[in-house]
Amino acid sequence: MRYAAPTTIDEARALLASDADAIVFAGATDVVPQMRAGRPEPSMVIDLKKIDRLMSVSLDGDTWQVGAAAPSSALTSNAAFAADFPGLTEAAGLIGSDQIQNRSSLGGNLCNASPAADSVPALVVNDAVAVIAGADGERRVPVADVVTGPGQTSLAHDEIVVCFELARPAGGTSDAYLRLIPRTEMDIAVVGAGVRISLDGDGVVSAASVALGAVAPTVVRVPAAEAALVGSSLDDAALAAAAAAASDACNPIDDKRGTINYRRQVAGVLTRRAAGIAADRIRTRNGQNGAS
């Protein structure tokens, strides 16, 4: 097995194109354990962490550019980013241990294509766009369209996710991500729920996004839950309707991490709680703004 550490996207793509068996990694926190567990070793592993653009986190006008290989800790330690996307930051900060978070990345978390990836529901509710470099230059794809099934993506072999573009949320908007794990850390989501809410001046929901992880082969966007929230003031009935819609949207499996019934039930609970947290964040921020 050969190890390559290119410093440019073109170089990385050329290496990838030269070897049908080569794989890229953006942290290797999934790839290395998978190999130890018996995944066949590829002929070449290409480390993306030496490419500046993939490692940078920057605000360009009203758009955040998050390098696909930037470590989770680069997000959790970035106060401005965390203020714009508290839910996504939480999701990135839930992956593995502190040591893992110095390696793990949003690009890796997405392209590993685990149904239980923590950051993906949070990226989806924030309408994140993946910038993908390929033979014909760069293309922009909604994050929700990158993963096509467990371990499967829509990327061609010689394509690389470069970064994520995230539009800064308008005022009155915030997000939250919750997951259920039996432990407190070092675990994989049995259910994950990302919610983004926008409130108008009267406290009525003007927009909502709901996405669930670990309840279907890919992340599930839940329009029925979003519809239940929009136009409401997040009263109990609206939250209950959103929770029921989230439960209904699940297409989970029975496995060692949870049963179908359990996942359905908890998906609703987490959706309701995450919506409440996102709304509280907006109200807190508005309160602070009002006071200043």
Binding site: R36, A37, L180, P182, R183, T184, E185, M186, D187, I188, V190, K256, R257, G258, T259, N261, Y262, Q265, V266, V269
Partner: protein, 757 residues
């Protein structure tokens, strides 16, 4: 700050070890710096010139006949130096403990669990060894398998061993079955007891098999020479056991084997047996080179010691005043692929924390297609306590009595009969109950929304054989050599007892774990015996040395030895005509008074004091997700005398944490085809540090009269109460009693949902 200052500044535990200079203090452990600095050497750290790597091929089937094994392709692969299969090992006897050990190390005609070793390769690199092992062609004839107790006990169950006939049943069965043995303990008349009881509660409980979860996988390096002698470096709970068991499997004389103990990264009972050493020895013999075998975590889960799952039916009768009069228990324990004695131990433990007039306890040891049981801290007692203390909790609720008061009301004392026969010696159960009752935790109001649970636990503790050699060095220091690996701070405890005896600063004592050729025979560390029994040998050797030191002083002073006393590390002349002679002065002059000073003691320790623990926990339960959070936890345990209180507390806390894991999330998940689906720490969920509050400890000291310092073993009993403590706390928090472990979020939510509808 020097280590000596640290010892002095941390002082004594202040709860009973008064009168001792060293016993009861908390010096920095002698092996501590190497361990925190990453310098301590574990078995997997050793590399020898020319060393090969061994890889074991394991069965993918839970039950199958081995039709043939073709190793020719593997032998032809690059780097391969030796291949062995069951056929290379001596023939196993038709039944008995030796057969079970031999057939656990490597399968013969039949594989009995997924993960059962069937062949092994030694090659120049790990990769070559693994690739070659995978190239071995094994043809299996699949046999039906059984994975749980109910299926294995069924009349039409596939039978694992056609020569296994249930013991303890009259007349002796004529058909083989998976029920290896039946055990009965009885006293009084239970039917009369139930008839006279005001309250009778009858419940059925189940617990899942769990793993000891030691962080260090099994590892060894074996080097066999041309004369047929083997040196084994291994991580174990007892290197003399590694020697005898390896010899037993290979049919060798023990004198052919020397075992050098490596540091051990956790055992908890799971390293009281062997798996890989005989395989490495045969590979090394064949290849003429040293061979290292290190298990993967997956191997550890698939092929090494689970503690058994159990099904227990309890029926308990009590009077309205809280007096428990009668208990009837039916216990069935998994044994794994070969017969053990799990149910027998469960029978002995199940009601041991209570006095009862009427008792009928019946237990069944059941074999099934899982790896064979190995000891895990107080083996069998946790499941038994789960059943009994859950029912006792219900009785307390029904009679409206505080659950601690009810336990004190029913507490056995010295001279009362144990459920299994002999009378209780001096025990500290009542003191532990009182310690919890009086604790800050129990006296504090339960925070709103939380539930509180209490339970008690018993474990026998044992003595067995131990040896120690203590040598006094010419500079006035001492070397204490024992045959007990240091699993939980025993080097420090041995040094403290030697320091107390000799009157020597504990840091002038070097505690050493000696190999099988430098120290006398010492049994494996089990039954919480090391500080008790090996400590006794250290004390005996030190007392011998004190006699020698007095004689040397008498010789120096030309006086009668009776005129010499040993006081605070010096020989003191009784009549006062001589200046005291320090230990260093005597050893420095030893050449002129008769030569070097050393002493050895070997003994069979008798009178291990039984251990009890009482614990309380506060939990909160997320009613919508079923997640249980441990908010506060306090444990009281009778240590007899705490030699090094920090390591006593460490044992208490460690046992509690493992018990909480067993209660809340740990379980083996098997697929229908008999393969383990969670052979790793991601999906086999032992608790992580952030899952738990600091476990508060209260060391109770009711000295054991059989030990010179009153020591009782402390390593095991702490794991017994947490199962019922958690179940009782969850019941208190939710109003719903769950009698099947683990109390994982899906199971708790299911129970809460069912209770609602």
């Amino acid at each position: 700050m020097s280590t000596t200052e640290a010892a002095a500044s941390t002082g004594t535990n202040g709860n009973g070890a008064s009168g001792y200079r060293w016993v009861g203090t908390r010096p920095v452990r002698h092996d501590g710096l190497d361990k925190v600095a990453g310098k301590a050497r574990y078995a997997a750290d050793l590399n020898l010139p020319g060393m090969l790597y061994g890889h074991i091929l394991r069965s993918p089937h839970p039950h199958a006949r081995i039709v043939s094994i073709d190793t020719s392709a593997a032998e032809a692969m690059p780097g391969v130096k030796a291949v062995v299969t069951g056929a290379d090992f001596p023939e196993a006897p038709p039944k008995g403990a030796t057969r079970n050990l031999m057939c656990t190390v490597i399968a013969r005609d039949t594989v009995l669990y997924s993960g059962h070793a069937v062949a092994a390769v030694a090659a120049s690199t790990r990769r070559e060894a693994k690739a070659a092992a995978e190239a071995i062609e094994v043809t299996y004839e699949l046999l039906p398998h059984v994975l749980n107790i109910s299926d294995a006990m069924a009349d039409d169950a596939p039978v694992l061993h056609d020569n296994l006939f249930t013991r303890g049943v009259e007349p002796r069965p004529t058909e083989p079955s998976n029920i290896a043995a039946r055990t009965v303990y009885e006293r009084g008349d239970v039917e009369q007891g139930f008839a006279e009881a005001d309250i009778v509660i009858e419940r059925e409980f189940s617990t899942q098999a769990v793993h000891q979860g030691y962080i260090e996988p099994h590892a060894c390096v074996v080097d066999c020479d041309q004369e047929g002698k083997a040196v084994i470096w291994a991580s174990s709970q007892g290197h003399f056991k590694v020697r005898s068991a390896t010899a037993e499997v290979l049919g060798w004389d023990t004198s052919r084997i020397k075992v050098i103990p490596a540091e051990i990264g956790g055992g908890f009972g799971g390293k009281t047996t062997i798996y890989i050493e005989p395989v490495a020895a045969l590979l090394s013999t064949k290849a003429g080179r040293p061979v290292k075998i290190v298990m993967s975590r997956e191997d550890v889960f698939r092929a090494t010691g689970p503690a058994p799952g159990a099904i227990i039916k309890m029926k308990v009768g009590a009077r309205n005043d809280g007096t428990i009069t009668t208990a009837k228990a039916w216990l069935a324990y998994e044994n794994g692929a070969f017969q053990g004695m799990a149910a027998m131990l469960g029978c002995m433990c199940v009601v041991s924390a209570y006095t009862l007039d009427h008792l009928y306890v019946e237990g069944f040891d059941v074999v099934l297609n899982r790896p064979v049981n190995v000891a895990y801290r107080a083996p069998s007692a946790p499941a038994a306590a789960f059943a009994m203390d859950s029912v006792v909790d219900e009785i307390a609720e029904r009679v409206g009595m505080d659950p601690i008061d009810l336990r004190i009301h029913n507490c056995p004392s010295q001279g009362d009969p144990t459920p299994y026969g002999p009378k209780w010696p001096m025990i500290g159960l009542r003191e532990c109950l009182e310690a919890i009752r009086d604790s800050d935790h129990y006296q504090s109001a339960l925070p709103a929304g939380q539930g509180r649970g209490v339970a008690s636990g018993f474990w026998f503790n044992i003595g067995e054989a131990s040896s120690a050699t203590v040598n006094l060095n010419e500079n006035g220091t001492a070397t204490v050599i024992t045959g007990s690996p240091d699993i939980g701070g025993s080097r420090a405890s041995m040094a403290l007892m030697a320091a107390e005896e000799l009157g020597l600063d504990v840091h002038l004592i070097q505690p050493v774990v000696g190999d099988t050729e430098v120290v006398g025979f010492t049994d494996v560390t089990e039954g919480s015996r090391a500080t008790f029994a090996t400590g006794m040998a250290v004390v005996e050797a030190c007392r011998d040395l004190k006699e020698q030191l007095r004689k040397r002083a008498a010789k120096t002073w030309d006086c009668d030895v009776e005129e010499v006393e040993w006081v605070d590390g010096s020989a003191v002349h009784g009549p006062g005509e001589q200046e005291p002679l320090t230990l260093a002065a005597i050893t420095g002059n030893a050449k002129r008074t008769g030569g070097p000073l050393g002493a050895t003691a070997s003994l069979n320790a008798r009178g291990a004091g039984p251990a009890f623990s009482v614990q309380v926990a506060d939990v909160s339960v997320d009613q919508e997700t079923g997640r249980v959070t441990v908010e506060r936890y306090t444990t009281a345990q009778d240590a007899g005398t705490a030699i090094h209180p920090s390591y006593v507390e460490g044992q208490m806390q460690g046992g509690v944490v493992q018990g909480i894991g067993w209660a809340l999330n740990e379980e083996y998940i098997y697929s229908d085809d008999g393969n383990l689906e969670n052979p790793g720490f991601l999906d086999y969920r032992i608790p992580v540090a952030s899952d738990l509050p600091m476990i508060e400890t209260c060391i109770v000291e009711v000295p054991n009269p059989s030990h010179p310092y009153g020591v009782r073993g402390v390593g095991e009993v702490g794991i017994v109460p947490p199962l019922p403590v958690m179940a009782n706390a969850v019941a208190d928090a939710t109003g719903v009693r769950i009698s099947d472990l683990p109390l994982s979020p899906p199971r708790v939510l299911e129970a809460l949902t069912a209770a609602e509808s």
